[in-house]
Amino acid sequence: MLSSIIFLPLVAAALLAVLRVPDRVARWTWIAVTTADLALVGVLIARYETPADGGLAFEERARWIPSVNSSWHVGVDGLSVPLLALTAVVFCACAVYGLREDRRPRQHAALFLALQTTCLGLFAAQDLIVFFLFFDLSIVGMYAAIAGWGHGREAGRSALQFFLYTFLGSLALLLGFIGLYLAADPHTFDIPELIAAAPLQDHPVAGGFVLAALLVGLAVKTPTIPFHTWLPPAHTDASAIGSAVLAAVLLKMGTYGFVRIAMPALPDAWRGAAWVVLAVGIASVLYGALVALAQTDVKRMIAYTSINHMGYVVMAVGAAGLLGGGTAARELAVTGAVTQMVSHGLLTGALFLLAGVLHDRTGSYAMRDYGGLARTAPLWSGLFAVAAFGSLGIPAFSGFIAEFQVFAGSIGTTAWAAIALPGILITAALFLRALQLLVTGLPGGRSISFSDVRAVEAVPVTGLLLLSLAIGVLPWLLLDLITPASAVLVDLVGR
């Protein structure tokens, strides 16, 4: 079940790469496959029952490299199911949006289908090598997406920077994985076994180094400051779909790594580093928000808000390592972190797709080139306004649920987390400012002959926003999945 979900897109990608089908067929195949995969994920969720005693559901295991105790081991729990669903949803939305792609659509579809496999695989991986495999391949795939379909003048350069930077992260990650492997007795790359063993529990120095490697690797991908500098250029030069996938799914790989590997496998070291993680998270929140506030390019602005939003996640997982507060608060923080991953995926995905419409029409992301879009493109404006409000954490959208939990949980653990509160405010300010510049006022500049969103653009965005709305109004649908897993995680970290 799980393996077929993971590999269905890859098989389709291979077929698309091999068979020279017409462009139309390629586009619709893409949509069909992503929809099918989404349906499969839906079935999976429907049949998902929280496994007892913190175990995994839909577990599959096959021999791969027995000599290093690494196997094709996949399985899901409350932390990964939401992200699997997010991946399927975002890629499906991108497939619809991609109907308008006219540059090598067959290869484009194949590339993104392959990328989907890497993302799904990563979120289901229960083996460090499998995890790393998909982690690295996602970089390669994203590189190809930016370099091949990006539209900035310096797309190649940005792509290279992206590749180098995240590759550096992946290497650091690999070092950390090797450290974990060697520390475990018997040596193993199997994540559940590593978590059960918590190998470096009594080795503070070694544990610290291994955790540092993991943290650097994951922080680059997340990205947190000061490892974020690859993100703005990558987003600026990527295509709309590329940006959406990058922000909505790929960034989650970093934070997912925290909750899947770093926290449970190195509880001792994590608690030791929790203050650092917390500080980095807070700094990312404030810094990302402030720098975003100063941007004049709408896509760069959204990119920086990603740093801010992912900062909430980092802050929450950092707080979860502080034993001072009550268990309930730390569980809430972790639940909030996972919720925020999903929420950010939906909302930022929508925002990037909308920003893509701007570029598609006029070739510019500069906010001062626009104004009064509410008149010429009311639908776009409405969607953008909703997405912006969702993103700045207005209730009834998922962002609020996530941020409330993150803050309540983090502050409930340590009052220092309150320092990050202005991040909410600055985010609000910058989104409202963007709305003011782009949407309101009298039409001017490039807005004058701006044509409103077409169906293929509006449908995916609307879908993402509706999901965000659903989570915002009925959060327990999602939280019932996450909460048991975060309780298990907090328990593990507290060992």
């Binding site: 100063a294 207005i394 003011q436």
Partner: protein
């Protein structure tokens, strides 16, 4: 009955969202739909006020979405629903263009208010609280074509959201203290967390209620349509700030400082904003300042645990101020101005509007037996019990309210000047007519403004007090008389001696907006820009810095390398000199090298590495010999 409560919240939300989404297509039916919905909500709210249901739904782990109607909510909820209905009726005649969006947003707002009033847990409260903020932004910036209106919405939203952060803080504190997120549990928190929670709630409430120092946003918010002001800035949103404090009054009382702080902030706001109101030359600005001042009494009431008085004042003020805002809106639509000088004699043009406005103004002034006279005194009685100073400040504030109310009253009832037309149409094109639909709500509200004082007077007042306070203080006859006399005297005084122009800082709302701009907004923007520059120039090139470092090392290494290869015999002295020289030169070249990217640095290193590949065989031999010798030395040295 719980179903009714849910319906009370969801019906306007769903209808409102539907209207917003359907856009211009629904413009024609929107007013009717809105009025019907508001009517339903009013009916439902009366029903739940009588039935007092309590319910909850799963929301977050460990925190339900709790709604309940208690005595406090039972008083406020129908009032808010009624004002909403009346405002919608008025708007049907007053607001043109994009009616679906307008009505939809108003209904969404109403839904949020319903939830706020009934919320029993922090998540539910914050949920509705933030939605109120967002819809208020959208409503203030309703005419988005005009940038300054959107900007005003932004100011309002951001200011109130700043205060809202207190709720996040309170939620964190509640969790940290281990009490769960129910509002009723907060007073039971352990010591430091209880204070944090109280502080958070206090800040959030003061922000929404436009109390000092968050007052400025209310001035900006007057850019919105007048009916919006009537609902948001009198009956609902601003009032919700006071309402929250009334609701958590036990929490305030549980700490030693929160109650007095609230009381004094309220009293001072009442006083200072009263003065501000007195100085205004714009009717809506005057009303806004007055709103802040009147809410000050509510906050004061919450602070001194005079919940019943505060509640009565809240409701009475809602009716009064909605009335006045609607009247101002009617004049604005008809005459195209809200400048006080231009409104001379406006009341005489449409007598019904004028009479209603007069009732409102008199009530605002605290003239007996109109509503605010009694409710205010109920609050002040509580203040008197707390401290005399507080009472006197409150009394002074009451006097000021009589002053500005009188200013408006006498002005609009002056004889219509001959050149009246000259002052019109300064802000928009006036229609020169007030429709029946606009007038009808005024009458209802005027009735309310007149009689709602009963809420603070026996026998109704006693019932209310028993339901809310248990046995709170009641105003003595002397106090009632004193305040009534003060009101009348001040009113007459204003009539006899028209006011001299007051200092500019009063008219400019104490300079709060500018202060916020200077103290908060600009520094933040500067920081943001500085950080963005830092990000672009420094952080993004931190890699460059690394490159530069590598560059220097590489140069030194290269020099060293050449030195060894070409001049193995020249002695270490020369090599040392060259090394130092090279390092020095690299240092000089620093600023130049600073702009290079990492790629350049690494490429340079690559060039150095390739330079070892000279193609000269004898140099390969030498280098092999040197390296092997070094290896030998290493082997023998490190054991």
């Amino acid at each position: 009955m719980t179903g009714l409560l849910w319906a009370c919240a969801t019906v306007p939300a769903v209808v409102g969202a539907g209207l917003c989404v359907s856009g211009r297509r629904a413009d024609r039916v929107a007013p009717a739909v809105g009025i019907v919905t508001a009517g339903v909500v009013l009916a439902l709210s009366v029903a739940v006020a009588l039935g007092r249901p309590a319910t909850s739904a799963p929301f977050l782990p460990g925190a339900v979405f709790g709604l309940a109607v208690d005595a406090l909510a039972a008083v406020v909820l129908p009032a808010v629903a009624a004002v909403t209905l009346l405002v919608l009726v008025f708007s049907a005649a007053d607001v043109s263009g994009a009616r679906a969006r307008y009505t939809g947003l108003l209904l969404l707002f109403a839904a949020a208010v319903v939830v706020t009033v009934c919320a029993t847990t922090l998540p539910a409260l914050l949920f509705a609280w933030e939605v109120m903020g967002a819809t208020s932004y959208a409503l203030i910036g309703f005419r988005w074509q005009e940038p300054h209106r959107v900007g005003a919405g932004l100011t309002a939203f951001l200011t109130t959201r700043t205060a809202d952060l207190g709720l996040y803080l309170a939620a964190g504190a509640a969790l940290a203290g281990g009490s769960g997120l129910a509002l009723a549990d907060l007073p039971g928190l352990p010591a430091p967390w209880r204070d944090v929670a109280a502080a958070g709630l206090l800040v959030a409430a003061l922000g929404k209620a436009a109390q000092l120092p968050f007052t400025a946003w209310l001035s900006a918010a007057m850019q919105g349509p007048s009916p919006v002001s009537a609902l948001l800035h009198s009956a609902a949103m601003v009032a919700m700030g006071g309402y929250l404090l009334l609701r958590v009054s036990p929490l305030l009382g549980a700490t030693s400082w929160a109650g007095p702080t609230a009381a004094w902030v309220g009293a001072l706001t009442a006083l200072l904003l009263g003065a501000v109101a007195l100085a205004q030359r714009d009717l809506k600005q005057l009303l806004a300042a007055s709103t802040a001042a009147q809410l000050g009494f509510v906050v004061l009431g919450a602070g001194v645990a005079a919940v019943a008085g505060g509640t009565a004042h809240l409701v009475a003020h809602a009716a009064t101020k909605a009335l006045l805002f609607l009247a101002a809106g009617a004049w604005l639509t008809a005459l195209g101005t809200k400048q006080l000088p231009a409104l001379r004699g406006a009341a005489r043009r449409w007598p019904l509007v004028g009479v209603c406005a007069a009732v409102g103004a008199l009530a605002l002034a605290g003239v007996a037996p109109l509503s605010l006279w009694a409710t205010k005194d109920a609050v002040l009685a509580g203040a008197h019990e707390e401290s005399l100073a507080l009472y006197l400040v409150g009394l002074a504030a009451a006097a000021l309210s009589a002053g500005y109310a009188g200013k408006v009253l006498w002005l609009v009832w002056q004889r219509l000047p001959a050149d009246a037309e000259a002052g019109y149409d300064t802000e928009e094109e006036g229609t020169r007519q007030v429709r029946a639909l606009q007038q009808a709500p005024l009458v209802v509200l005027a009735a309310g403004a007149a009689v709602l004082g009963l809420l603070a007077l026996p026998p109704v007042g006693d019932t209310l007090r028993q339901a809310l306070d248990g046995s709170g203080p009641t105003p003595g006859l002397v106090e009632l008389a004193v305040s009534a006399v003060v009101a009348v005297v001040v009113l007459l005084l204003v009539r006899v001696r028209p006011l001299q122009p007051l200092p500019g800082w009063l008219e400019g709302w104490l300079g709060l907006a500018r202060a916020t701009d200077v103290v908060v907004v600009r520094p933040v923007l500067h920081t943001a820009e500085a950080l963005a520059r830092f990000d672009d120039r420094v952080l993004a090139r931190a890699v460059t810095g690394a490159g530069r470092g590598a560059l220097r090392t590489a140069r030194a290494a290269a020099r060293f390398d050449d030195g060894v290869l070409d001049r193995a015999v020249a002695g270490s002295a020369t090599a040392g000199v060259r090394l130092a020289d090279a390092t020095g030169r690299a240092d000089l070249a620093g600023p130049d090298a600073a702009v290079r990217s990492l790629a350049a640095g690494t490429r340079w290193l690559g060039g150095w590495a390739r330079r070892t590949q000279t193609g000269q065989l004898h140099q390969y031999y030498v280098s092999a010999a040197v390296v092997l010798a070094a290896a030998l030395a290493l082997l023998l040295a490190v054991r």
